[in-house]
C-alpha cells in the first residue's frame, strides 16, 4: 500500500516530537538525580532539601549507626509492597515539592506510620514481643488519625531523627 505524503509528514513530525520528549525527559531525569532514588543512600532523601532537618536529625540520632531511611520507612520482605510504598511516597513528595502545596509541619501519613511501626518490631521483636502482643498501633494518640505518632515512636520519639529542639 502506498503511503500518502501527508501521513509520512505526520509520522516524521511525531518521531521528532517523541524524540524531543524522550530527550528532555532523560535530561530532566539525570538533572534531578533520578538514579539516586534507586539507591539506599540517605543523601538521596535530601536531594529536595526539604528533608534537611530530618536528615540532620538522623545524623545525631541513636539509630544513625544501624539504619538508613529505607530501613525504617520502607516495608521489608515484600518487594512489590516496598516498590509500591517507594513509588507512592516519591509521587507525593515530588508533587509537594514541585507545587509547594504541602501543609506544615510535615507529618507522616497513617499508612507510612504502620510501615514504620512494623520496622521497629522487625528488629526489636525479641525484646518487645510481650509488650506488643496486643499491638501498639491499636490505640492511636488521636482517634481521627490526624496525629502522626503511634506505637513505639509515640514515646521513643527521638531515636530516628534525634532530640527535639
Amino acid at each position: 500500500m502506498p503511503v500518502r505524503p501527508s501521513s509520512r509528514r505526520a509520522a516524521f513530525a511525531a518521531s521528532i516530537a517523541i524524540g524531543a520528549f524522550a530527550g528532555s525527559g532523560g535530561y530532566t531525569f539525570v538533572a534531578a538525580e533520578g538514579t539516586s532514588y534507586f539507591s539506599d543512600d540517605p543523601a538521596a532523601c535530601v536531594n529536595c532539601h526539604i528533608m534537611r532537618d530530618q536528615y540532620d536529625g538522623w545524623a545525631h540520632a541513636s539509630h544513625h549507626a544501624v539504619t538508613t531511611c529505607n530501613d525504617c520507612h520502607l516495608p521489608h520482605g515484600d518487594l512489590v509492597h516496598a516498590l509500591f510504598v517507594k513509588a507512592s511516597n516519591g509521587y507525593y513528595h515530588s508533587k509537594g515539592f514541585t507545587f509547594q502545596d504541602f501543609a506544615e509541619p510535615i507529618r507522616i501519613k497513617p499508612g507510612n506510620a504502620k510501615v514504620l511501626e512494623a520496622n521497629c518490631r522487625r528488629c526489636h521483636a525479641d525484646a518487645t514481643e510481650e509488650i506488643t502482643a496486643h499491638g501498639t498501633l491499636g490505640v492511636p494518640t488521636d482517634p481521627t488519625q490526624q496525629a502522626d505518632l503511634y506505637g513505639c515512636v509515640f514515646c521513643h520519639q527521638d531515636v530516628g531523627h534525634g532530640p527535639h529542639r
Binding site: 501521513s7 505526520a10 509520522a11 513530525a13 511525531a14 521528532i16 516530537a17 517523541i18 524531543a20 520528549f21 528532555s24 525527559g25 535530561y27 530532566t28 538533572a31 534531578a32 529536595c48 532539601h49 526539604i50 534537611r52 532537618d53 515539592f97 514541585t98 509547594q100 501543609a103 506544615e104 509541619p105 507529618r107 494518640t141 488521636d142 481521627t144 490526624q146 496525629a147 502522626d148 505518632l149 527535639h164 529542639r165
Partner: protein
Amino acid sequence: MYMVVVALLAAGGTVLMMMLNANVATRKAEALQTSFKLVDLDERTVDPAQWGKNFPRQYDGYLRTAEPYSTKYGGAGSDGMPKSRLEEDPRLVTIFDGYAFALDFNQRQGHAHMLDDQRTTRRVTERPQTGACVHCHASNTVAYREAGLAHGAPGTLADPFASATAQAQLMTGFEAVGKLPYAEASQLVAHPVACIDCHDPQNMALRVTKPGFLRGIDALARSDEPVPHLPSLGKWRQGDRARPYDANLDASRQELRSMVCGQCHVEYYCGPKTTLFFPWSKGLKMEQIEASYDAMEFPDGQRFTDWQHGRTGAQLLKAQHPEFEMWSQGIHARSGVSCADCHMPYKREGAIKISDHHVRSPLLNVARACQTCHRFPETELLERVAVIQDRTKALMDRAEDALVALIGDVEQAKKGGADDARLAPVFALHRKAQWRVDFVNAENSMGFHAPQEAARILGEAIDYARQGQLAVRDLK
C-alpha cells in the same frame, strides 16, 4: 491523523517536561545560594530597607509586623486605631491614678508601630519623658554611638561593634541620650527596631546591642540566682570572672534567640531620676526584682519609686513588660525553647529555610510555632492555651478588684482623718499588691509564658490587697 495526535501529545509532554526541568533547576539554585549580596552592609547601615535588598525574604516578614491583628487577649485589633485598655478595663484608671498610664494605655501593635506609637501616646505628648524611652522603641545602636562620639568617646563609627572603642561610644551615648528630653532624643532615631539591633552586618550572626541588656545580663550573671535555662551564665560563673559576662562572646546561638528579644521585652526602670537599668542583680523573679528596687535609692536620696498614687498617696512600682522574666520561670524556657522558636518559627520558602521575621503571637501560627514539637491537632492546642489564659484572666480580675477595693478603703480612711504615718503599713501592702497585679497585667502572654508563676503572683496580689484592707480596718 493518528500520527498527528501522537506528535501533539509528545509536544505537550515535552513542554511539561521542560517546565519540570525549570522547576528542578530553580529548587537546586535556591538550595545552592540562600542570599545574594547586592549592597554592602556595615555598622552604619540602620535603614532596614538596605538590609532587605540582601535578605528580601526576612525583610518581607519584618514589614508584615505592620499588619493589624488580634487574639483573645492581645493585639490592637483590625479596626485601624489601637484598642484602649483603659476603656476595656476602667479599673486600670483607678489603679494608675496620678500616673501617665491613667491617661493613655492601649493594646499592643506589631513591631513596625513601636516608634510612632511612642511618639504619639499622650503619656509622652502630655507628660515630660526622657530620651531613655528610645532605648527600646527605636533602632539606636548607631544613634548611641554617634552621640557617644559627640560626647568625646574614642574611635570612629566604623569600628567593629565588639571593639573597646565602639563599646565606649555606645555606653557614653546611651548615658547622654537618656538625659535628653524625649522630643530631642526622638530626633536622633528614625526606625523602629531594625536588623542592626540583633544582627552583625558582616555575617548576620545574632548579637545583642542594647546597653540596658548588656549591663543587666552581666548583673544577673554576678548574682547567685540559678539560671539553668541560660547555661552560658553558669559557665561564666565557674570561670575566673576576669571580664564581665558578655552575651556576644559567651551565649550560645539558642540563648541569643531569646536574648535578642530580652533586650526590650523585660522589666526596667527608664524614668528621669537615674540611668535606665534592668533590675536583675538579685535574679529574674518578681520578688527578686521588687527586692532590688526596694533596696535602692535614687541619686537624690529618695526612695526608689515609679509614681505616687493619686488617691492613696502610696509610692508605687509600675511593671513594664517582663516577658523575658516570666518566660524564664516557665516550662518552655527550662526545656530549651527560645522566644524565636515560637514567635519567629522556621518556615520554608521553596528549598530555603528561614526564621519567620513576621514576629507575632504563636496563636496566629500554630502549625509552625507549636506543632513542630506538640503533635496534637491545632484546635486542641488552641483550647489548651485558652484554658491557661482564661484562668489567668479570671484570677487577674479578682486581683484587680481587690486592689481597687483597697484603694477605695484607703481613700475613705484618709477622708476620716488617717494620716500618712499611720497609713505607712497600708502603703507598703498597696505597693506589694500593685506590683504583683501589674507584673502579670503588663506581661504580654496572659499567663501563658509561665502559668503557675502567674497564678502564684496573682494569689499574692489578692492576699496583699486584702491584708491592706484589714490593716485599714484595724486603724480605728
